[in-house]
Symmetry: C2
DNA sequence: TATTGTTATACTCTATAACTATA
DNA sequence: TATAGTTATAGAGTATAACAATA
């Protein structure tokens, strides 16, 4: 009883621990799949964000992602440098920059979303389809704020 | 259809997004509760880790938490400076430092774990008891690596 | 006056490399 | 030679403050 290193440690039952490590594991699974596309998971999230629905300004995008608008500047800079998005002055308000995907950005987004599905499938592999769906739904409700 | 800002955005259905924001929300709920104890959530996780079972060396602790051993040095430094833990040379191996909670550290750990339960309860409030349990179990299985 | 994007700057978190002591 | 802890340093990632253009 002195080398009881296999005992279930309470830290690993904390939600904070579980959420952090689930995220780490997802990143581990996903990054190698993104690498061939030449983008990071973060960048793909941005392509997904700006690629859907009506064009968003940088600030709209920042708000949705929960990051600061100054952070968004750098993120959009990266994508613009790779030719995946372009900035357009908003017709109605010349202060705003609408972020739009280029043709190449659109292609990368589609390929990336397929890869995201693969990574999520790997992460959720230990769960039944039902439990996987339940996990996603539960997280969604938590995030949208009880 | 130009100001369709309420449409469900695909980014927010990605597991990466959900996990990150669930974590952010938990931190939001928990940090104000930890503040009166004079510790951060991170520090409490360390107290929980080192407070249970047989004493762990810094490196053992680092491995369990999934951080680098150099990171662990700084984390233990903080707790030691607050008088919550002390380092002891391991009897069998003078290179190792066993991290043990002081009496004060034990008191803070207990208070902190109670607060952690409260924060988790707040986070899980939108879920039924059954779904909350299902979420914890699903995350556990994912993290332990299916 | 207020807001959007931008820049400069600083802060936090974490890891890599190199050192010391022990094994 | 290898391992545990340590230190110095550097790299992400992010935010705050101040500025220019526009509203």
């Amino acid at each position: 009883m002195s080398s009881d290193l296999g005992a279930p440690p309470a830290v690993t039952r904390r939600l904070g621990y579980l959420l952090k490590h689930a995220q780490l594991r997802l990143a581990e699974l996903a990054e190698p799949l993104y690498a061939p596309l030449g983008i990071t998971g973060r960048q793909l999230a941005l392509l997904t964000l700006f690629g859907e629905g009506p064009a968003l300004s940088q600030q709209d995008g920042a708000a949705r992602l929960g990051v600061d608008r100054t952070t968004m500047v750098a993120l959009v800079d990266e994508l613009e440098a790779r030719g995946l998005v372009r900035r357009e002055v908003a017709p109605g308000d010349r202060r705003k920059r609408l972020v739009r995907l280029t043709g190449e950005g659109e292609r990368v987004r589609e390929a990336g979303e397929e890869v995201t599905r693969q990574a999520e499938t790997l992460l959720l592999a230990p769960l039944s389809a039902e439990d996987a769906q339940g996990l996603r739904a539960a997280l969604g409700r938590i995030v949208r704020g009880g």
